[in-house]
Amino acid sequence: MIYIAMATGFLLILIGFYGALTNRNLLRMIVAFSIADTGVNLVIISVGYLPGRTAPILDTTVTAAAAATRIIDPVPQALVLTAIVIGVGITALMLAYALKLYEKKRTLDIAKFTELKW
C-alpha cells in the first residue's frame, strides 16, 4: 500500500513537471506545479507511514505511554502541513503574477514574455 502511495506521489510530480514543461499557458503551468506539490506531499506522508499504526493523536485508545508503539511518525506530517501552506502561498503569488502579465500583454503564452534574454 505504502509503495503504491509513494509511487503515485512520484508520478504526480513527474506529471506535474511534464505539464509545466509542455503547456505554454501560464495558468496551466501553475496548475501543473500545484499537482507536483500534491505529489510531493504524498511522498512525504508515505515516508512517515508505518504500516498498521494510527494517527499521532493521543486519546483513550492511544495513551501517552503506549504511543511509541502505536502511532506513526508525526514529523513528516508536520512538515507537510508547512509545505502545503507554503505551496498555496507560492501558487497565489504566481497567479497574481500571471494576472499582471496578462494585463500587460493580453496573453498568457509564456513564449511571449521573452524581452529579457541572452
Partner: protein
Amino acid sequence: MVSAIYILIAALGAAFFLGFLKDGMRATAFAVTLAALVFMNFVSAGWLWSFAVDAAAPVEILTAGFSPPFAINLRMGLTEASLTLLVSLSGLLSALYLKDVLLALGRRSMAVLLIAVMALCGIILTRDTFNLFVFFELASIATAGLVLLSEDERALSAGFKYMIVAQAISVFLLIGIIFSYHATGTLNIDGMADASTELKTGASIAFFLMFIAVVAELKPFPANGWALDIYESAHPAFSAIFSAASGAAFLYAADKLLHIGGAAWFPLATGIGIITFVAANLLALPQSNDRRLLGYSSIAQTGLVLAVLGQQDILGDRYLFVAGGLLLAHSIAKAGLYWLSGLIAGRALPDWAALRSRPLLIFAFIVFIAMLSGLPPFPGFYAKWELARLLAGDGRIALLALILFGALLEAGYLFRWFGYILKREQPAQPVVCTPHKLAPVIAAVAAGWALGYLWGDLSGHANLLLTVPLLFALSFLLLEWLPAWIKNTLAIAGMLAFFVLTYAEYDPLRLIFAVIILIGGPVIFLASYHEHGRRLGFYPAAMLMFAGLALLIRTGDSFGFFAAWELLTVGSYFLILRGKHSEPHALSYIVFSLGGAFLILAGFALAAQGAAQYDLASLGLLTQPLAPWVFMLLAIGFMTKTAAIGLHIWLPGAHGEAETDVSPMVSGILLKAGLFGLFVLLMSMGKQQLYGIELTHVLLWIGALSALLGNLMAIFEEDAKRLLAYSSIGQMGYAVFGLALMNHLGWLMALMFVINHYIYKSMLFLSAGGVAKRTGTRDMYRMGGLITLMPLSFIATLIGIIAVSGVPPLSGFGGRWIFYNAILTSDARLPMVVLFFAGPIAFLYLFRLIHTVFLGQLKDEHRKLKEAPFWIILPQMIFVVLLLVFAVVPGLALRRVDIYLNQFFPEGGLNWAGTTISSNYGYWNPVAIMIAVAVIFGSLFAWLLFVNRKAQKVKQFNIVFAGERPYRPETTHFAWNFFAPYRKALGFMVQPFVTRFWEGLTNLLHVAADLSRRLYNGNGQSYAFHFIAFVVVVHFLWTGV
C-alpha cells in the same frame, strides 16, 4: 550579548508592525524599517566582535526550549556572524538607497525587504534542514517580490520565470530532505552529519536532490537564465542584495549540506562551480547591458566560491580565509557596482562614461573591479594566492588553470568596461547623485579597503597596506586636490628619499634596477612639470606603478614578488589608459599582463608545493619533473612584460598612445620589471630541460626573433612613438637573448641593455613626445624640417639614435661589443644569425625617425612652432649627458656587477685594466675611441667651417630639382612608406600573424559566447527545461563517474 534570534525577531516584528501603520505614515514606516535593520546590524556586529576580537566560542541558540534534534536550533559563530553582518548591512544600505522607491510603494514593500533580509539571515543561522527549506522559500518569495521594486516592467516576467524554477527547486529539495530524514532519523544538520553513513557515500540520491536544489539557487550554468533576467531588470539596489547577500547565504547553505554529505560530495561542488565560473565569464564577454553583465559576473563569482567549497579538504584551516576572501570581495564589489549602476541613466556599458564628471565615483569603480579581479591589496588577492598555492600543492592543476582562465576573462570584460568609462563620449544625462544613494557606494568602498587591511593582516604574509611604497602611492589619493607641480615635487622627493634610505640594502644587480627606478623615475618626472592644473588620477597611478617596482626589487619571497608585480601592472595600466586613444591598447595590455601574472602565480604556486612561505631563492632547489614547468610558467609570465614576440601585440599601442611623460616611464622603466623577473628566475633556476629541450635555448630563439621582428615592424611604422615602441620590442629581445646565453658576458650585456635602453628610449620618447605635442600629430610624414625649430629635441634624437644603433663612440657600442664577446662562447649559432640580421635593420627605422621628423622639408603649418617645453627638454639634456658619460666610463655601472656576476659564472668576466676593457677574445677602450673620433671629427669640422665660413643658409626650396624648383613641402618631403623597396622584398615577414592569432582567439571566444548565450532565450519554460536537464545531466555524470 544580544541573542542572535533577535536578528530574526526584530525583522519579523517590524514587518508585522508595519501593518499597524496607516498608509499615509510612510516616513514612519521607513524609519521603523531602517531601525530594525540597524538593530540587526548591531546584533551581528556585536557577535562578530566577540568572535573575532574576544575569540568567543560559537553559540547554540535553542528554540522552543528543547535541544536539537527535537527542536530547531540556530548557531552563531564567526562565519555566521560575518555573513549575517554582510547580509544585514547590504540590506540596510540597499534600504537606504531604495528610500524613494520604498516610500512610493508603501509599507508592504518595506515588509518584504525586511523579510528578505531576515530569511537570508535565517538561512545562515539555522541548523535544521527543513527550517532551511522554509527560509529558502521565504527568500525566494521575497526575491520574486523585490524584483518588482524596479521601474522596468520586464521585471514582472523575470519574477515569474524565477518562481517557475523555484517551484521545481523546492520539489527536489523536499524530496531530498524527507528521504534524508528517513535515512538518518533526524532533520538536524549536525545530526544528519553524525548519523549519515548512507548520505556520505556519494551515491545517495536523497542527498543529491537536496544538494542540487541548494546549488540550483546558486545559479549554476546553464540553469541560470532566470537569474540573469532578474539581474537585468530588477532594481539595482535589490540586485545588490541578490548578488551579495543571497549569494552569500545560499553558499553557506551549500556549505552546510557539504558538512552533511562529507568529502565524497566535494568534487560535485567543485565541478559545478568551476564550470559555472568559466562559462558565465565567457558568456559575459559579448554583453552590452551593464546589469546583465554584472549578473554574469555575479554568477561566475558564486560559482568560484562553490568550487572553493568543494576544495575544503585541501584548504584545511585556510578554508575560511580563502572562501571568505573571495566571497566578501565579490559581495562588496558587486553590491557597490549595482548601487553605482543606479546612478547611471543609460543601460549600455559606454553610458557609464557619465561617471567621468565624478572622480570619486570613478575611484569607487576602480576599487570594485580591482576587488573582483583579485588585485592587491584587496581580500580576493590574498585568497587567490592561498587558493593557488594549495591547489598547486595538491596537484590540482587543471582546476587552477580553469580558475585562472575564468578570472582572466572576467578581468578582461571588467577592464574593457573601465576603458569605456574613461574614453567614451559622455552621455547627456548626468549622474544622479543624492546623498542616500551615494552613501552605500562609499560604504562599500570603505568596507573594501578595511577588508583589504584585515585580509592582509590574516594572510600570514606582509600586509601590503602597511608597506611604505604602497602607502606613499595611496597617499596621493588624498592629495589629489593639490596642483600638479606640488604633487610632482612630492613624488620626486619621495622616490629619492626612499632610495637614499634603502640604498645600503641592494646588491649590485638590484642596485642597478633601483637606480633606474628610483633615480631614473624622478628624472622622467621632471618632464611632468610641464603639465598644469591638477592632473587628476596621474599621480596615484604613477606612484602605484613605482611602488610596485620598488617592492618588486626589494622582496625576497614569492608572495611579495607577485603582489608587487600585480601592483605595478595595475598602476601602469591606469597610466597607459590616460592616453587619448589608448582604450583598446590599455585593454590588451592589462589582459596580457594579467594573463602573465596568472602564469607567474601558477608557477610560484607549483614551486611552493603547498608551503606557506616561499623564498625566491628556493626556486633553485626544485628538481625534475617540476622544475622545467615552473621555469616555463614564470618565464612566459615575465615575457609578457618584456613583450617577447608573440606576446607583444599590446606594446606598440600602449606605449605609442600614452602621454608624453608616460611613454618613457612605461618603456624605459616598466619593461625592466620583466627583465628583472627573468634575472631572478635564471639566477636561481639556471638551465632547465623539458622533454630534452633546453629551455634557455628556446629563450634564445624568442629573444632573437623578438629582436628581428620588433626591428622589422618598426621600420614600416609611420607613427613616431609606435616606431619607438616596436624598437623596444627589439631591444628587449636583445636583452632576453643575452640573459638566455647563460654566461657571464651575456648577462652583462643584458644589464648593459637595461641601462642603455632606459636612457636612450626615455630620451627618444620624450623627444618624440615633445615634437608630437608641438605639431599635434605623431605621423612622421606630416612633419619634416623641424631641426631648425627644435634643435634641442633634434640633438637628443641624434644622440639617441647613434646610441641605439650601436655605432661607436656612444654607449650602444658597448652593448654590442659585449654581445659579440658573449656569443663567442655559446654554441647557439642559429639564433645568433637571426640577431645578426636584426642589427643593421635598426639603422633603417632610426634614420627614418630622425630624417622624416627633423630633416627634409618643413611644412607650412609648422613654420611658427617653438621648441618643446622646457620641462620636456630638460630631462632629455640630462639623458644626453648621461649617455656620453656612460659611453666613456661604462665601468661606473658595470664593474661592480661584473664582479657580482662572478658568483654565478666565475668564468668569462671582463678585465678592467686602466681605461681598456678586455675579455678573453677582444678588447675595447672607450676613452680612446671617444678621443680619436672626437679629434678626427673635430678637426674635419673645423676645417670645413673655415673653408665655408661665408656660406649662407639658402631658402628651403633652393634645391636642384630637374631644373625646376618645387614650392610645396608636401610633395618634396619623401617620407611616407619610406622603405617601400624593403617592404617589397621583406614585407611578408611583418604580416601581422601574431595579431591575427590573438584577434582570432578573441573573436572565437566572443563568437562562442555569443552563440551559447542564445541558450538563454528568455522563455521561462525553457529555463525550467534547463534546470531539469541540469539535474538529470549532473546526476548522470556524477553517477557515471
